[in-house]
Each structure stands twice: as C-alpha cells, then as structure tokens.
C-alpha cells in the first residue's frame, strides 16, 4: 500500500534541517518515528523533539495513515 505523507518542520528544527517540509511517498505501514527516519536518511530524531499527526500531538510509535500530515518541532515557547 502506497502512503503519501506530508512532513513539516518548525522553528529551530526547520532551521537546522534547512527545509520546512517533505512530501513522502512510500510503501506502508509506518510509525511517526519511521516517517522521520525515511525523511531524514535514517538520521535519529534529535532529543526533545515533539511530533504531531494531523495537528494533534502524537507519540513516536503512533501509526500514520495515507494522507496524514506529520509535524516535528522543538519544545514550545509561546505565551
């Protein structure tokens, strides 16, 4: 089964990766963590990075589905 996943990066993570997003196409299934690894050539996820799937916070071992938007970002500092 082919999965189309949009991956987004924010803030200091976006700066250090040098890009804001990736469009992935691959044969599933996959977890959030595996999405990161596919998008980043197997490089491990940096410490303290948070993840969201379809704009809700998600755990790294959550499964993703075709069409999902997966986001990675550093600890939040708003307010």
């Amino acid at each position: 089964m082919t999965m189309s996943i949009k991956v987004r990066y924010f803030a200091s993570l976006k700066e250090s990766l040098g890009r804001a997003e990736d469009d992935l196409e691959f044969s599933g299934p996959a977890t959030v963590k595996e999405v990161w690894e596919r998008a980043n050539a197997g490089k491990p996820l940096p410490d303290h990075i948070l993840a969201a799937v379809n704009m809700d916070y998600a755990q790294l071992n959550n499964a993703v589905r075709d069409g999902d938007e997966v986001a990675f970002f550093p600890p939040v500092t708003g307010g």
């Binding site: 803030a11 550093p74 939040v76 708003g78």
Partner: protein, 150 residues
C-alpha cells in the same frame, strides 16, 4: 469562545471589549473577568533583547488553543473565554498574549484563566527567537515555571 492569531500588534483592551460586546449573554451575568496579558520584556536571561520573532503552526495552533479552552470549560463554570496571541516580529513592551475569562464567580474566572495560560505556555505550538541587542539571534529553549524566585 474565540482564538485569534495576530500577525500585527494588537490592543488587549480593545480585543476584550469587542469580544464581550459581541457576546450578549454576558451582559449583567459576568460578575468576574480575569485577564492575563503577557508582554515582551527588553531583558531575558541577563541579555538585552531588542526584538523577537514568533513562529506558530497555522492550523494546529488554533485547534490546540480551542482544545485548551474546552478543557477549561469542562473543569470550571465559565461563561466565555478569549485567547489572542501574536506572531511575527514583536518589539519590547508589545503584547504577546492575552487570555480573558468571564465567569459568574471569581474563583472560576481566576482558575480557568491560569489553567489556559499554563497549558498555552507548555503545549501550544509557538516558538520564540530572540534578537539580542548584540545582534545575535537565539531560539528560546523552553518556557520556565513563571516565577522570579525559581
């Protein structure tokens, strides 16, 4: 309830008044209004700061703030709540965040306001990058617990 993300400077009281006037159910009912305003300081971690860039995750930020307000509504008896948050380039003394909560009684207004603000600080997708007076830039690593003494 309402959540508003502003790319430009906003006037807290105008937001509060405008929202309250649009919500007729509050006239004569809202005995207690608790308001919190976070403004940009010109010093942080011992360094002079001349500006700040506030990034957010359009879509998730709004959705998440609405969820926080809904959680507050489940825990306290409040009439309404408004959250306004800046993005973009912020200058010292400009408002960053406004949380306003209306309730019949003060305890509910205070507690819900504090809850929303603490949840916003720890979980709402916003990121601050400071521009120091020295022209160095730095991303804030994390939010603190909010007390001078700790």
């Amino acid at each position: 309830m309402a959540v508003k993300i502003c790319a430009d400077s906003f006037e807290p009281w105008q937001e509060v008044q405008q929202y309250r006037n649009s919500a007729k159910k509050m006239a004569g009912k809202s005995g207690a209004t608790a308001i919190f305003i976070g403004m940009m300081r010109d010093v942080n971690e011992g360094d002079a700061v001349k500006g700040m860039m506030l990034e957010h995750y359009p879509g998730m930020t709004e959705k998440h703030l609405e969820k926080i307000i809904a959680q507050a509504q489940q825990q306290w008896q409040i009439l309404d709540a408004l959250v306004v948050h800046r993005t973009g380039t912020v200058l010292p003394d400009e408002p960053i965040v406004l949380v306003a909560v209306w309730a019949v009684h003060r305890g509910d207004a205070y507690d819900a306001n504090r809850y929303i603000m603490e949840a916003l600080k720890s979980t709402a997708p916003f990121w601050k990058k400071e521009l120091l007076k020295s022209d160095a830039e730095r991303w804030l690593k994390k939010n603190t617990d909010g007390y001078a003494s700790s």
